[in-house]
Symmetry: D2
């Protein structure tokens, strides 16, 4: 584990985007390609089985692949060479048939993104569930509303939590949509024509997609990066939805406000001030989520590719996509932790409310009624989303 990973790469994504998993995903592509070719009779079933048997990441020396990647700019050439050596001379020609390096890297990246989204969605949904719980419990808990950080008309804490919930649900919709429909296999061969598999290209593409659990694209998308852009966009949206509750928690946890605190025992100390209780989970959520705008910009800027393969822009997608998945996953893991352990001080909320302005009971009952009504709507929408959810 890297020195900062527990803070800035929390949750399950870090492992999913690791080199070992990525190499295995590339090998899964090679095995699926061979199986698909065997299905069309292009290679023998024995060759396909031999290839599959050699497609285990543990048999590959990642450091060596890494060094040799510098010769071509991708790790695929040394990976395929090693695979050919492993299967022996008679099967070597059946390896990587009709594919190009970008096919392997792009498809493996989609596999990794798909698995990452499962983890991200799990944490985001747990955070949403915690928000839903807070919304239900505190639907009538009055507190000061605050605009431009100045005291304004009262709200209930439940309505605030319902706002968090709705945003998380909307981010969830985007992630779910991209996961289920936009993460497609990439397979086109040297220049994306599928000519080297003619006339079986389409069926090979469909077979490989099915093996990898990915969608089938209309065309090879080697230089159509709208999928990457859309994935980046929904991750950026999710980062914002995750950061908003964390920002509110940090502000509500201020010493002078004191309306919530994070309730994980033993966390939140300081190297300089022994007794301090920092809202570590909320702070870390904010730190992780802050990566998103710049990383999304990197991915969008890298989305304009020359001709049939980009001279730099393609390579430029690899790190920001990995980092963006990590950052959003980490933010989701931290926010879940934050909201699942949030301690709400309803008395302090009430005290803050009444401290400044003498209570107007009639007005307050209207506020409560209005807030309760909105919370009901948000919870109903949340339930409906969850029940119709394919995941």
């Amino acid at each position: 584990m890297g020195l900062l990973d527990a803070v800035l790469a929390r949750g399950g994504v870090r492992t999913i985007v690791s080199d070992a998993v990525f190499v295995q995903a590339m090998l899964d592509f090679e095995a699926a390609l061979a199986a698909a070719h065997a299905g069309t009779g292009r290679i023998t079933g024995d060759d396909a089985r031999a290839i599959a048997a050699a497609c285990h990441a543990a048999r590959y020396n990642i450091a060596e692949l890494a060094v040799r990647a510098a010769d071509t700019g991708t790790p695929v050439v040394p990976l395929v060479e090693t695979l050919r050596t492993l299967v022996g001379r008679e099967t070597a020609d059946a390896v990587h048939l009709g594919a190009t390096s970008q096919d392997v890297v792009d498809s493996a990246a989609m596999v990794v993104a798909k698995r990452s989204l499962v983890v991200i969605l799990a944490d985001l949904r747990a955070a949403a569930a915690a928000a839903a719980g807070l919304a239900a419990e505190h639907r009538s808990t009055l507190m000061p509303g605050r605009t431009l950080l100045q005291r304004a008309a009262p709200v209930t804490f439940g309505l605030k939590a319902a706002g968090w919930l709705t945003a998380l649900d909307e981010a969830d919709d985007g992630l779910e949509r991209v996961s289920s429909s936009r993460l497609a296999v990439q397979l086109g061969g040297a220049t994306g024509t599928l000519a080297a598999m003619w006339p079986n290209g389409q069926s090979v593409v469909a077979d490989v997609a099915a093996s990898l659990g990915l969608s089938v694209p209309v065309l090879p998308w080697h230089t159509d990066r709208t999928r990457i852009a859309e994935l980046a966009g929904v991750l950026g949206e999710a980062a914002g939805a995750l950061a908003k509750p964390a920002l509110d928690v940090v502000l509500l946890a201020q010493t002078e406000v004191g309306e919530v605190r994070e309730g994980v025992p033993g966390r939140g100390g300081s190297s300089a001030i022994p007794g301090k209780a920092n809202p570590v989970a909320a702070v870390a959520t904010l730190a992780c989520a802050r990566r998103a705008p710049g990383l999304v910009a990197e991915l969008l800027a890298a989305g304009v590719h020359e001709h049939e393969r980009a001279a730099g822009a393609w390579h430029a997608e690899w790190l920001p996509m990995r980092d963006l998945l990590i950052a959003v996953g980490s933010a989701a893991a931290w926010l879940r932790d934050c909201l699942e352990h949030l301690v709400v001080d309803a008395d302090r909320m009430s005290g803050n409310l009444r401290g400044e302005s003498p209570a107007d009971v009639a007005e307050e009952s209207t506020v409560v009624a209005a807030c309760e009504s909105l919370v009901r709507l948000a919870l109903a929408a949340h339930e409906q989303r969850r029940s119709g959810d394919p995941a």
Copy 2:
């Protein structure tokens, strides 16, 4: 027209996002709000009609609103004050009932975004139609494929154009989805509780949304900026889809390649070299599209709002959203122009192909067949999209 607007703000968006249209959209909100309140009996029909009669931008001095906006940070306070003056003392209290400044600005911004998307989609679809025409016409026109800008296996120009088409269609899907489902009215009152309209808040929201042609949100979204993030995301995606064909055109139009040129007479000269024919439309498309990543990053970074109204982040959305709509609209208008007038030199493509490597007729016929097959798929998907298109 601004000095650079014909280059960097081409198309219809510049007018739609102008101050005059924005002020009118804010007034449309006020009129719709009054009508909705009249519907619930909160104000009289006469008051609502008087308010509607005063809601014409021509009656407002934009420069004066602008100056007075500095006192509160938004132009809504002086706008509402002016409206109250226009309707007279007896109706003044019926104005802006239950609303806050952010309700007005956010709803007007959604109206402007929705109209902008209509224009952007029209140009983007015309560009896609031109790409479809090129794909169909040149489905068998062989040319060199190029990877990392090096000559690689041949493709057809039709397949290249089909790749442009598919990316444009996918960007279209995103813009269409956001336009039809995510551009919602914002109405919540001072702190988003709708308490000032209790118990009629929901029906007032629905009425105002219907009047403005916007969706009804689950909750007021004053501090849930996922809608802004999602709009930014699909605009960023569209920018990439628009830039890709432009980049290919610039590269194919290089003197040494010479496979395409822009065919608009009288355009493309130079102040230093009289006879030059620059691919102005493609260059301008690239220039406009390049704004998108940074502007999307601005919007995502501004998407984390404190409590019930942000202290800065909300204001920070206004200019980048306007600029992003302009930039993507301008890119769409330029690409449409570029592709509708593109002159393809099939002989030069063929010559470039054969210059380096002696022809392998058998291989080429396979390439053509493979490319034709893919072009058919792309065109069929395009037709299907268009036929199911609600616009």
Copy 3:
């Protein structure tokens, strides 16, 4: 004045970057070029004077230049054509001699940037002076220190203001350095060789630079955009230095903290809550400064230019540079306003300090002594900077 300009384009930059001023700066370049050519005997003094006489922006129709700019992608071609018409046939050939469009636009942009920096620095220095005043006055005013928004060891408000001051001074250094040494004339001709002026290129460059008040570059910098990047960098740095005090003011002005407020009468109201006093200047500072990171990213991403003139990246610099100057200038104007009128509630600071933790007088005297010592250092450094300041 644009509807949002008093909020988001405050201060003097908006006018300096206007179309009229930019057109005049382009004409100043043409006049300076003619004068320089007259100095080398390339054209006559009469021609140069005739050209200078025609170089007044009021004689040009900006809207018409704008429309015609679409033919070539820049407004320079129609500008030069108009200038040639104005001076008559016999002088027409003496116009724009040896220059290319980019020379005109880049040099004019540098002139505009230089003038903008004067205004930005004036406001930033006034803000720094206000911070210095606060630092001196409150060097011993104890208040709670706050880390992660939690109460921590005490500080003095003077030290906090000294921190603002030092950051503003450091941003000032960067802006001053770029203004005095990096804003250079661009003049190279069609492809940057100065061949069309051989052998007088260098002296013509020096003359034009002197006329325009710009530096002389080692080489024409048409495709070396490090000057733009460096200007962007120091503006981005300044945005952060301006935003930090504003963020602290917003936080200290929270109802629950109440240690400062903005003291401009009649400002800070709300459309929904009559009695509210929002820290409008600080909020607007934050909103303006938030534009910087995305705009800097745009400029850096546009800084990689193909061959002897970029196909899109050059055009892509124009709007973000203009917007960045406006944004930073507006932030400086607002922060100046904020700090010059800041009302400090030392009693509330003291109350907040003692509220939580009983006073430890001995410790507090050490804190005050330590803070005073640091404030002295900051003020001394500030004085030294100002006294050595060339501006």
Copy 4:
């Protein structure tokens, strides 16, 4: 070595920013702090020596520090606890005296940045030297100038290389300036007052700075992030200067242009097309440099810190700063490789020049003379820079 490190993290920076080096830098800070306290008599020399003896990264379990970092949000608390355990109970109180976590992390980050800049500058200067060699050798080698990728007035390849050189030199100036004057120690204690070291704070700061080879700041800069912004700015500028030559190489190496190629044997193959020779170094340079704008935006956006320690923004700087150093260092290492092995085809340049337009010998001799003159200027400026170089 990570799978993509030889491509996207080339050169020496990757190791310098590794966890092991960072932990050692944090321990160097603790040892230097103890030595400084011993100098003022605050702790004994024996304690300082015991602390120094325990400050070796090899004695710390990074994975364990990482896990425990989640409790406080930084690895400093477990690091200091471990250090206290290692030195034993009687010396434990002498550890980390008067410091806070941010002091340790910020100072270590500056140490790591300073070392990284040494490596980056070495590679960037070698690339500049290679460009200078090309400029000198080819000062008279005519080739087509190209604007908007269209053939324009001729240039010499030497002038093109001189343009690369000048931009690299200007980026060098920025990196050198920041390295020598802006990388300062951070030491302020819990809230930046130095109160816990009163009255010796300034001398302790100076001692620690001297030990670590860092500058002494006017004030503790815990919430003044202009240093980070300025470092980010010059790295972003350098990325552009590194990318420009790479872009030109990619374009000149196009099959249809063929004026340069990369000359490293055995590099540049393809998994799909055996005979291909891709300009891998230039492509990788572009890929690495493309990270910069988004990462700079991340750092600038994270540069606005609340009160005496930021709630998220501080943590948000760690990864993008590390990534930015890696990216720019990798781009420098690749460009050095590219330019040191660049093979120039002067005959092809000449052929491309004459192919389109019949030679005008008189004009060409002027172009050569003009270009030679500019190249001389650039080389002279380069020599002057190098001779005055403190490094």
